[in-house]
Symmetry: C2
Subunit: 272 residues, 2 copies
């Protein structure tokens, strides 16, 4: 059934390694719905028999699927097909993504509150040295102090994203509430705007990479789930005012932008 690796077929098929056959077969079965989201896969022992392979080989195949983000695994329990509910953030509309607060009008476009999920967030404020990369974006001297307002968001106790906003020292000196450890009721962007510091332009950067071990721990993600990173630098008329780095679990989040005239979108229909 499953060809041995190494001994190459005469002419063309150049047999795939066994562990890849295992992965490909299971991947196809997941795609076909033989195993649906949340289902348990057969145990390693059963797969070993089915594919006539050693345990390590079966594990190597399963590991591949884990690293593709298709499976979850944890000690003592069967491999499980991942299921995804995706949160969509419209970055061109929403200035502050604030959970469980005024959802006036259009404040964010999520499927969270509309599906009985329970969002919450952890919040903290620190005085820290502005990290090098942020300092460049804020155009402040490397090593300068600044305020970090940090937030980690959860949905039903699943970590969803972390958000770190840095404010330069000159701004904090002029508007000290930025450094206070409470959530700013009206939103810090609004607070600044009310005090004459208006953000009239944004520079957004989007990128992806695999999490570091710390990030993986913080967002409780295993291998195989990439991060989606969104860095927004907010500008007043003459200089950068703040820099926010939001780190999302890539498997649970999409970001959208609406540009230009979208009157044709008013009948949104089944558009994602």
């Amino acid at each position: 059934m499953y060809q041995q690796a190494g001994s190459v077929g005469q002419d063309e098929p150049m047999s795939k390694p066994l562990y890849r056959q295992v992965a490909d077969t299971l991947r196809a079965e997941i795609a076909d719905g033989v195993f649906g989201p949340g289902d348990d896969l057969p145990s390693e022992r059963e797969l070993r028999e089915r594919f006539d392979a050693s345990r390590n080989t079966v594990r190597q195949g399963l590991q591949l699927l884990v690293s593709e983000g298709l499976l979850n695994s944890s000690q003592g329990r069967a491999y499980q097909v991942r299921s995804h509910e995706i949160f969509v953030l419209n970055a061109s509309k929403f200035e502050n993504l604030q959970f469980s607060q005024r959802e006036d009008g259009d404040s964010y476009d999520n499927e969270v509150l509309h599906s009985g999920r329970q969002p919450h967030q952890e919040f903290r404020v620190e005085m820290v040295k502005v990290p090098q990369d942020i300092a460049e974006r804020l155009k402040v001297a490397p090593g300068e102090q600044g305020v970090l307002r940090f937030c980690r968001r959860f949905v039903d106790d699943t970590p969803w994203s972390t958000q770190a906003t840095h404010y330069p020292k000159w701004l904090v000196d002029a508007h000290p509430r930025l450094a206070e450890p409470d959530d700013i009721e009206e939103g810090s962007t609004r607070y600044l705007a009310d005090r004459g510091i208006e953000q009239i332009g944004y520079h957004d950067e989007l990128m992806t990479r695999m999490p570091t071990p710390e990030e993986a721990r913080e967002l409780q993600i295993g291998p195989g789930v990439p991060l989606l990173i969104w860095i927004r630098t907010g500008f007043s008329t003459d200089k950068p005012v703040r820099c926010t780095r939001t780190t999302f679990r890539g498997d649970l989040n999409h970001i959208t932008y609406d540009l230009g005239d979208l009157r044709a979108l008013t009948t949104r229909g089944d558009l994602h």
Copy 2:
């Protein structure tokens, strides 16, 4: 030196598995520059001695780093520290990302042409059934035919991204050059605009995930490199006109958006 797994320390440290110690140690050394971009790592045999571990255990640790995108590996050669040159695409400025063509003014913001790299692209046009997800975005019946204009871009023969644009049948019927197999000189968006079909709004979606095996082959990426996916739907005054899905190697590409008034950014300085 390196604690055994299993036998738990009395009170707290709960020793890490050996393969993680291998990975963590090497990761730190890469971060510290002990091994720079492009450098070879010591061979598995040497690492086995250094960490006093079996070959499989060392391999497991190395595999972790590969899956984090830090290392490349291929048969017969040493593990190599990945090096990244990142291409930045400003999605709010550039309608068509066209390689090696009129770079009038600001047409794209890359470090490619400015560093002596050689870009090129493969191009093809097909008549295909519009895929389900694209059909939703184009608001056409699922299963309907449409034109697919496909492009794969390279930099110095490294696959960089693939781009697939779907046009609905009604548009192609009215403007048949969309279905012709040549590159449209002036750009297809321009071609349409000249014929009265102007795209006045865009809906962009950004997401990340690990590549499927096909995608990994097409972009020549190994495990540990996530994809960055950008889906742009272009709208005329009353309906969607085209849908473009661009699939980037996440390790080589960033996307940016400029929103609002960015006069403060004119002195771009060291801002990325």
